[in-house]
Structures are given as C-alpha cells and as structure tokens.
C-alpha cells in the first residue's frame, strides 16, 4: 500500500514537472506585447529590449527555465503586468483562493449527498416515475452545455426566489445559487453511476439469498447493496474535482465571485500572460493532486484492487 502510494506520488511529481515545463515553453511563444501593458505604444525598440532583458526574457531558454523553477520552489509566481501592474501574483491569489476553495468544496459535498441519494432513489424505483425523471435530469445535464443552463438558472431562479443576481460576500443568500449550480454536473454523474452499481448489485445472487431468507427490503438495501455499490464511487471523486474546476470558471465570472475562476476569465480577456500562466499551473496541479488522492483513496477503500497490475492506464 505504502509502496504503491509512493510510486504514484513520484509519478504525479514527474507529471507536474513535465506540465510546468511545457506550459512555460508554450507561454514563451506568446507575442511580446503582453509584457508591457499600456506602455507598449509609447516605448521605442531599444526601451522594449531593455525591459525584456531586465525581465530575463532574453536569456537562453534553459537559464530562463532554471530561474522559473527556482522561483516556483519558493512560491514566487512572478508579477502581474496588466491586471494589477507590479503586484506579485501570489499576493493577488491570496484573497481569491478562499472563495474558490469554499465554493468548490461546498459543491463537491452537495453533489456527493444529492447525487448518491438520487441514485439510490432511482435504483429503488427502477423504471418508474422517479427513475424516468432522474434519467431526464442526467441526460439534460450531460447533453446541454453548462454555460446554457447556468445562464438560465441565474436568470429565472433568482427571479422566482428573489435571490440577488450577483455575489456579495456579506449577503448569505447570494452564496446559495452559485454553490448549487456548481454541483449540478457532478450530481448527475454520481446519480448515474450510483444507480448503475445499485442495479448491478440488485441482480446478484447474494441479494436473492437474502430475500429468500426473509430479510426486509430496507435491510438488504442498506446493509448489503449500498455498501457494495458505494465502494466504486470513490473513483469518481477526482473527476468531480475536475468538473468543479471547469464549473467554477463559469460560475465565478457569471456571479462575479472574486475567486480564481473569475480571475482567469478576467486576465485572459486582458491578456496578462504571467497571471494566465500562474493560473493554468495552479489548476493543473489541482487536477494532478486530485487524481493522486483519488487513486490512493480507491486503493484504501477496496482491498480487491490488485496494485501490481495497475501499471496501465486508469
């Protein structure tokens, strides 16, 4: 178990290293106007060169890379150029991360609870009205682009329940809808898998035996089926995290939540290269950490997994 975790950790670190390098190299391909902000028009060629040299952008690539790793190790992500000129990015992020963290975690918790309950309800009333309604919901959420239903939720739900349209930190009512919208996608995923695993378990022989012994339906559901169906759900935790990340980019800018997702949209539109680079790295690291934790969690939950065989793709 420990050996597997260490091996998996090493793999994650290598991945992270590759991604940092690739992202850094790709960002060097960007047009250089991005490093000047408003001042670009006013400067002549020599001044621009001087600034670029001062920023270390004229050094050979391997030295630039080395400096980049060095500063990353001490947590220095560089300075913003256009968004908030000359302010260290770490400083900007400090105020943003708590919001993203709060909404992300809330969304994950809501979707876990709602999704698994919905899946159980659907499995219990197989091919009846609840099952059909739930399937409709899952199809809708999976097929329609998130941007569309997020917009309509914001438009109509705020109307109906008299909720504020934009997010305000001191108004609790404005926290509700963003968190719920963010959880919708993962809720559908959890419900779908939970229903499938439950239905699979329902048809197994041990359930028939339990029924023949005269156990109550409820006991069978809770003590036998639920437990077995729950284990494979652990593997969907990391993908929920990835789902929530992309959801948060929309949601935060839709409701103007001062988090990282909204910031990403902001700096892309203003073409602040260094901040985009930092955010891309942060989001990728979250993805890597999420999948790592998911794999380790899965190995802990389910002793049936053969770790030696798991060298291939997940």
């Amino acid at each position: 178990m420990l050996k597997y975790s260490l091996k998996r950790l090493a793999q994650s670190l290598v991945t992270l290293f590759i991604i940092i390098t690739v992202v850094f190299l790709l960002m060097r391909l960007m047009p250089e106007e991005g490093y000047f902000g408003q001042a670009y028009e006013k400067l002549d060629e020599a001044q621009r060169e001087a600034i670029l040299t001062g920023m270390g952008l004229r050094d050979p690539m391997h030295i630039q890379l080395k400096n980049f790793y060095k500063s990353l190790l001490v947590g220095d992500l560089g300075k913003s150029i256009i968004y908030r000129p000359k302010v260290p990015i770490a400083e900007i992020l400090k105020t943003k991360i708590p919001y993203s963290l709060y909404f992300g975690l809330t969304a994950v918790v809501i979707s876990l609870i709602a999704g698994i309950s919905l899946g159980i309800i659907m499995a219990r009333s197989k091919s009846q009205i609840w099952d059909k309604l739930g399937t409709g919901y899952i199809v809708f959420i999976n097929a329609v682009p998130a941007a569309v239903y997020y917009l309509f939720l914001q438009l109509y739900v705020t109307d109906i329940f008299k909720l504020p349209i934009l997010f305000k930190p001191d108004n609790t009512a404005s926290w509700i809808l963003p968190a719920i919208s963010m959880s919708l996608g993962s809720t559908a995923a959890y419900a779908m898998w939970m229903r499938r695993y439950m239905v699979d378990e329902l048809n197994k022989d041990y359930v028939k035996l339990a029924r023949a012994k005269g156990l109550r339906n409820k006991t069978i559901m809770v003590k036998h089926i639920f437990r077995n169906a729950f284990v494979p759900m652990a593997q969907y935790l990391p993908s929920t995290l990835l789902y929530t990340i992309s959801g948060s980019i929309y949601i935060e800018s839709l409701y103007s939540i001062p988090g990282m997702g909204g910031l990403l949209v902001d700096v892309i539109q203003r073409q602040d290269n260094t901040v985009v680079q930092a955010l891309v790295l942060i989001y990728s690291s979250i993805g890597i950490i999420g999948l790592f934790l998911g794999d380790v969690l899965m190995a802990m939950f389910d002793p049936r997994i053969n770790l030696q065989k798991k060298g291939g793709a997940r």
Partner: protein, 322 residues
Amino acid sequence: MGNGKINKLSDGINESLFEFAEFDDEEAQRAGYSNYSYWRSTWQVFIKNRIAFLLLILMVALLIFTMIQPYLPNQKIPTKIYLDAKTNMQLRNHRPDAEFWFGTNSIGQDLWARIWSGTRTSLFIGIAVGLWEAIVGIMIGALWGYVRALDRPITEVYNVMDNIPVTIILVLLTYIMRPSLSTMIFAMCITGWLGMARFVRNLIVIIRDREYNLASKCLGTPTGRIISKNLLPYLVSVIMLRMALAIPAAIGYEVFLTYIGLGLPVSIPSLGNLINEGRALMMVQSLRYQLIFPAIVLSIITISFYMMGNVFADAADPRNHV
C-alpha cells in the same frame, strides 16, 4: 420421400424408397442459414426506440435544412446589418415579426439567419472534432492495446495529459494560438482522442488474447488485418457512442471558449457567439429572445445527439439483438 405408407406387406416394397436422393445444394444450406445481418438488426433495435427514431428524423431534417437554408427564398444574410426604412438607422433589437422571424440583434442583424449560420459553424466544429476523435482515437487505441512495446510510452503520455482538466488545456492552447476556427478545432483535437483511445485500448486488451486471435496469428495474419477484422467489429458500439457524444461536447466547449473570450471572431456567427451576445442583453426582459432562441436550438441539437448516441450504442451491441 418417406411418405409411402405400408398397408399390406406386398405394398411394402415401395420402389420410390429405394431411389437415390438427389443432392440439392440449397436444401443442404438451409439448416445452417439465418438471415441475420448485423447492421439490419442494429437498425431494427434502434428504430424500436420511438424517441430516438424521431430525434434521428429531426436531426437529418435539421442538417438538410441548415445546408439549404441560405438558398431558400426570402432569407436574410447573417452578417448584413439591416436599416430601418423610416429613420435610416440600424434596426436594433427589433422584436420577432413576419419580416424578421427571430427578431434582430443589437446591431440590426437578422437573428434567424444568424442562428442557422451559427448552427452550421457549430455542427462543423462538432463533426470535425468527432471524426478526428474517432480516427486518431481508434488508431492510437488499437496500437496501444495491441502492440505491447507501445503500451508503456503511450500510457505515460496519456497519464500526463489526463491529469490536466480538459478545459484548462483548451484555454491554454486557444490563448496561445489566438482565437480562430482552426485553432479551436485543433485545441479540441489535441485532447479529443484521449477518451476514445483509452476505451479502445481497454477493450482490445480484453479480447486480444482470445483463442481465435491466437489462431489467426499462428496462421500468419498481419497485425493490421487482425486489428481491423478481428478486433474492431467488437468496438463498433463504443466507437459510435463516443463519436455521437463528441459532437455535443465540442459544441459545448465552443460555447465555453466563447464565453471566456477565446471564441470565434464576432464576424463568424456560431451558437457560442450568439449565446454570448444574448447573455449581454439578458437582464432586459424584452430582449431575452436573443438568448432564448439560440439556446433552444443548441439544446435540441446537443440533446438529440446525446440520446441518439446512447440508444445506438445499445442497439449496436449484438447481445441486444433478437
């Protein structure tokens, strides 16, 4: 033959019983013959699902309609700005009426024409990405699963790419390469093959060592032929499912990229662009039609492809054939 009934012993010697039976090739085949055809059975199971069949007709009609719409009479030009005849000003935010069926947008362009033009763009993106995903995904997946020497390197590449959220890769690539139609398709193709390749690989690993493949190999069948004749037919249902789902996904990513400001230029109408334009005006109750019309068309397309894909995948599975 064999009908001769014996009433009396003397009749028992029925000469006809001692004739040679003629060998009839057709008769001999009859017992072993069934008129099962894979594609016909798939089709029969598919059309049994009424909703899927209706959606299929709807989508075919819609595809044909988007193709011929510009050539129909009385159609407006999607990028032309219409002027008000009386004031000679741009016909801004004109409500839907007999002249402009879906109204006009904030600079006086006909929304009806724009929606169909946008549908063309979005469907083009979707189908291009779907085809790419199928071709590259199947090729890489087949090699990955079948050629043992390639297992390790492709797995490593996959693990690296799979660790980053797809949306982040899309954002990074379109940001670096400047937004355009080809950039967008390229970025989606970079990530698109991953899921398909993995599916194909896992299925191939399961079936590649079955006896009939071993036999085929011993008889000297080349690898390419084993993959295409022995393995791929098993994968048809999964491949069709992934392709059908790739189309709504690509349309969705287009909307996402447009939303965060990395979409197509405004001069090329696409469903993402239209929704984004509609979003800017959505706080005005009377202008919401500019968001609602494109959103409805988009939802119908994505839901149809999603449902058809799922039903078809069930239908293409031989275990569901009667």
